[in-house]
């Protein structure tokens, strides 16, 4: 399959390793990956913070960049959630019938990485090897907006050497919430505190998720506390094979 990578500005700038892993993984599975350099940001941060007029040109830009792509895959549930769940609302707000039509045509072609692997490509064993104790945090957007279900867990269970531990109260939000983490930093931290306790209870070395945004929040606090647990994007684990780990 010819896959167009939607890297997301966040991964592009702060977590390029997740993007590199996504490319390596998809190529290893026999697919062609392209990267359209004109892409920047999907507009989620602007839209969800209320700067919606400012987000509309970014929605238009995304549509322009990916208009003719066969499938678009991103290592981020929340950015895919923006496109699938909120682009229609943005296009309505713009009051632009052409944009409304284009968004409708684009939405069914945009996928988050793990749902794409399991539901579209129907692969669970991607040939990965990762001999570490790992716990999985289902991010809110992967769970409740995209409804990826157990796709990430199926992929992780098939990784050789990986010791998967269940995260207690896994479905509870970690408290990131985009600008919520800054605007309501105290409440965000109160939520994060419980997530950190759950992560540490598992005695895992690695906390993994499908969103680097939530992981930056969880990982930033684990690092501050010298907790001895690191965070990784699921693509990084799935890309690792015998010899790398």
């Amino acid at each position: 399959m010819h896959i167009s990578l939607f890297i997301t500005c966040f991964n592009d700038t702060l977590f390029p390793q997740a993007g590199r892993a996504t490319v390596q993984l998809l190529e290893r599975l026999g697919h062609t990956v392209e990267f359209r350099r004109e892409q920047t940001c999907c507009g989620q941060m602007h839209f969800n913070t209320g700067y919606q007029r400012e987000a509309i040109p970014l929605v238009q830009r995304f549509v322009d960049v990916f208009r003719d792509a066969e499938v678009i895959v991103a290592p981020s549930a929340s950015c895919v959630g923006m496109v699938r769940d909120l682009y229609p609302m943005a296009a309505q707000l713009a009051g632009d019938p052409a944009l409304i039509r284009e968004v409708e045509s684009l939405r069914p072609r945009v996928f988050e990485l793990t749902e794409f692997l399991v539901k579209q490509l129907q692969v669970e064993d991607v040939g990965a090897y990762f001999p570490h104790r790992v716990t999985y945090h289902p991010t809110c957007h992967s769970l409740r907006v995209l409804r990826v279900g157990d796709a990430p867990l199926r992929l992780l269970r098939a990784v050789r050497g990986l010791d998967l531990v269940t995260l207690p109260d896994a479905e509870q939000c970690c408290g990131f919430g985009g600008t919520f983490a800054i605007k309501n930093a105290d409440t965000s931290m109160a939520m994060l505190g419980d997530k950190l306790r759950a992560v540490r209870e598992t005695r895992a070395e690695v906390c993994v998720a499908a969103d680097n945004s939530c992981l930056m929040h969880i990982g930033g606090a684990l690092h501050r506390q010298r907790a001895g647990v690191r965070t990784m994007h699921i693509a990084e684990i799935l890309a690792t094979t015998e010899g790398d780990a």
Partner: protein
């Protein structure tokens, strides 16, 4: 794109003028007793809910039916309300229309005064909290006695409710014991629930038997028959509905359901979602007046108080589906930790964060739509499928547009506004975006230490107060891609 109706300073719904959630939250988060009480109560009730909901194989169909009936009602609200009015009048009741809180309070006070009553008994009612009826009655020299146990505790404590279903959720047994001893003249009392309930019972029994006028809200009213419904647990509501001579019920105009048959849906959805019970202990239904049985005079006050404005908003109107079950509060990770008072509104939690700003105008409650991480748990449990995250995001847009359009130069120079406008420009051009990435790498060097930043200036300081921030790596993804393509 923007159509703001500036609302006058609200006199109802808000407990504080212009509440600022982010300023109220830290004190609530630091209250260890509150944290423990709230955590325990919300976790218990949401486990109960999950349990009874999982018993029904057609729960999703019920939710969809609930949503559809409410959507139909809202679409035909004008005709439905007139039908209700005619049905109530035909059954011997009186119907009053109140455009706002002040008008509703005037009507009710007038009715109580016409019967020369100095005291009224009340059934727990959010709508009467919304219009601040008790204060209006007090101004007219009339004492309102709350008869719901939790509502009574809050009234005796001189506080406001912190939960729409369990108003005293933030109080534990020991605190309740102290309130009763202080206010009801009890000398000896333990903190055993049985003893606490017995004290309240003695106090209330006297009121039930001596008071002439009762005031209630309404869970539902049927347009077809004029039947009004109250759903409760204690039976104190049933006392108020049957013993006094006069009954005055206040309801928001959105509480309508079209037909009696629709109870089939809502009496399954409501108790399972709210108290986590299959059926609530007391469901009272009455249609106008029945000679020789129950109150001989019945008044229904239909309240707008901003609801028609909510109805006019295409995205916001689903808020009026709400049947006040409180499942969204119990599941909300923000509400669980801050409790209800931090919202500064009669309606707290996720539903309050969308309803209150719409009732009073976003300029008066602009912090509430931001009191959420948009985790979406509220939408999943909502029995009438209100997409709360969608409405929150829509209202955030309203908040920003209102500031930008009416806030003048101060709003334009607000650091957040400047930052978002600048970022939008950066993202609108590849070259500007790539230049910003390079500048970020250079700009971060004085702040970084071994791959992390421990302290950021300005707005971003909220992040590094408790979390380290990873630095921008040497090579962005696109730089790697370029290098790889060239190789």
């Amino acid at each position: 794109m923007s159509d703001h109706k500036k609302k006058p300073t609200p006199t109802s719904v808000l407990i504080e003028l212009e509440p600022k959630f982010e300023q109220n939250a830290p004190a609530a988060l630091a209250n260890t007793q509150l944290r423990r009480n709230m955590g325990k109560a919300t976790q218990t009730i949401r486990a109960k809910r999950a349990n009874v909901v999982s018993e029904l194989s057609d729960w999703e169909e019920l939710r969809e039916a609930g949503r559809a009936i409410k959507a139909f009602t809202l679409e035909h609200l004008d005709e439905q309300l007139i039908q209700l009015e005619a049905a109530v009048q035909k059954a011997g009741g009186h119907v009053h229309w109140a455009q706002d809180a002040a008008e509703a309070n005037r009507i009710i006070t007038g009715l109580v005064q016409a019967h020369e009553a100095r005291e009224v008994i009340k059934i727990k009612s959010l709508t009467t909290d919304e219009i601040k009826l008790n204060a209006a009655l007090a101004d007219a020299g009339i004492t309102a006695v709350e008869t719901d146990l939790a509502e009574l505790i809050i009234q005796l404590a001189g506080e406001h409710s912190s939960h729409i279903l369990v108003p005293a959720i933030h109080k534990n047994r020991a605190e309740i014991r102290e309130i009763f001893m202080r206010t009801l003249g009890v000398r000896e009392l333990s903190d055993q629930p049985k003893e606490l309930a017995a004290v309240a019972r003695t106090h209330l029994r006297r009121k039930f038997l001596s008071t002439k006028v009762a005031i209630s809200g309404a869970n539902f009213a049927v347009a077809e028959t004029g039947t009004v419904c109250i759903v409760e647990s204690e039976g104190n509501g049933r006392m108020c509905l049957t013993l006094p001579q006069v009954l005055i019920s206040v309801m928001g105009i959105e509480k309508l359901i079209p037909t009696f048959r629709d109870f089939e849906v809502f009496l399954q959805l409501l108790p399972r979602s709210s108290t986590g019970e299959r059926m609530n202990p007391y469901t009272s239904l009455w249609t106008g007046v029945t000679p020789g049985d129950g109150p001989q005079e019945f008044h229904l006050v239909l309240l707008d108080n901003g609801r028609t404005d909510v109805l006019a908003d295409q995205i916001g109107r689903q808020t009026l589906n709400c049947i006040r079950c409180s499942a969204c509060l119990n599941i909300c990770p923000v509400y669980e930790r801050t409790g209800g008072h931090a919202y500064g509104s009669v309606y707290p939690g996720p539903i309050g964060a969308i309803l209150t700003p719409q009732l009073v105008g976003v300029e008066h409650a602009g912090s509430l739509p931001y009191a959420s991480s948009l985790c979406g748990a509220c939408y999943e449990v909502c029995p009438v499928k209100i997409n709360i995250p969608e409405v929150l995001i829509h209202l955030r847009g309203e908040v920003v547009r209102q500031k930008q359009d009416e806030g003048g130069i101060r709003a334009a120079l607000d650091p957040e506004n400047v930052a978002f406008k600048t970022l939008a420009k950066v993202f609108s051009s590849r070259t500007a975006y790539e230049r910003a990435q390079s500048l970020g790498k250079v700009g971060q060097w004085p702040l970084q230490h071994e791959g992390y930043i421990k302290s950021l200036p300005g707005l971003l300081g909220g992040w590094t107060a408790t979390r380290d921030m990873p630095t921008i790596p040497e090579q962005t993804f696109r730089e790697w891609w370029e290098e790889r393509t060239k190789a």
